[in-house]
Amino acid sequence: MSRFSQSHPCNPIVPQQPSSPAASPPADHPARSNFREFRAGLLAVAPLLIGVAPFGMIYGALALSQGLSPAAALAMSTILFAGSAQFLFCQLFGAGAPALIVVAEVGLLNLRHALYSAALAPQIAHLPRRWKLALAYLLTDEAYAVIARREALGEAPGPHRHWFYLGAGLGLWGSWQLSTAVGVLLGARLPTDWPLDFALPLTFIAIVVPLIRNRTMLAVAAVSGIVALLMAGLPFKLGLLVAALAGMAIGWRLAGSIR
């Protein structure tokens, strides 16, 4: 198993040594390897575009329908760059939620990215600051899934792997901006009989289900799901907040009682 897969969400994250370039196979021309890694990252995210494209389009249309200007809708895709949080933002904005609630719920929804950050951190600890800032900005569910999957497949992580991360991140970034723009352009003209919004639950099912590998994780999912249903009547989607916190609390409790 590679170093990255050990720090998969389901496993406790162990402190790791930064990679040593000496451990990797002797590289050929560095620029070519960089390009090859970058291209491999781009290709790895290509299959995900079937989910990203409808997701982005429906976001663009939703943003306009909730009263955001086209400029604000597009800017949110570059500033926030987080599909589910952008959806939530639009729904809360449309419902006239107080700013504090919007920021709190977006923050909680995106808290999972801290886990991805923790998993990626040892891999890029040796890189200059501009790389860290760029890769942090590009860190999404999909990017993380692609990176973790590649490492889990046992491909030797080479000294140029940050170019793979960059390729995956930029591929997703570009397609998100593009599909958002299409959604904003088409807006209400998007055919309503296409269930594009189903891309959301499908994407998250694809991410969550493989993470449920033990009883604790199953309990977390069950509690979050049930509480979300029970609290669905709360205003401003506060049920999401309560359900996510309840799920995390039960997981923390169960994992703690085992140790």
Partner: protein
């Protein structure tokens, strides 16, 4: 509040979360309980997002065979568990929804 300010605020919060561990790697040691809590964040938040979407597509609990979203969602869960592929989960889920509705 101005919508632009709100977008920037949410963007800053999100970026800080994404940068968190990357920025402090090797400098700060977090209590183990904190990392344990984070382990459950993806499953807890994303499940809370998905389940009402499948079971309450029209705002009310709809637990029946003819709820196409629920059935397609369940099919997608089976596909995700067996293939572990985002692509096949999406394709299978969309096809199921198309067939059922």
């Amino acid at each position: 509040m101005n919508v632009w300010l709100l977008i920037v605020l949410c963007g800053v919060v999100t970026f800080v979360i994404r940068l968190s561990f990357i920025a402090v790697e090797g400098k700060v040691i977090f209590p183990p309980g904190f990392r344990r809590l984070l382990t459950f964040a993806p499953v807890a938040t994303l499940t809370a997002l998905v389940i009402p979407d499948l079971l309450m597509p029209q705002g009310m609990l709809w637990l029946a065979w003819d709820n196409a979203r629920l059935m397609a969602g369940l099919a997608a869960m089976v596909i995700a568990a067996t293939t572990r592929s985002v692509l096949w989960t999406l394709v299978g889920g969309f096809v199921m929804l198309g067939v059922l509705s």
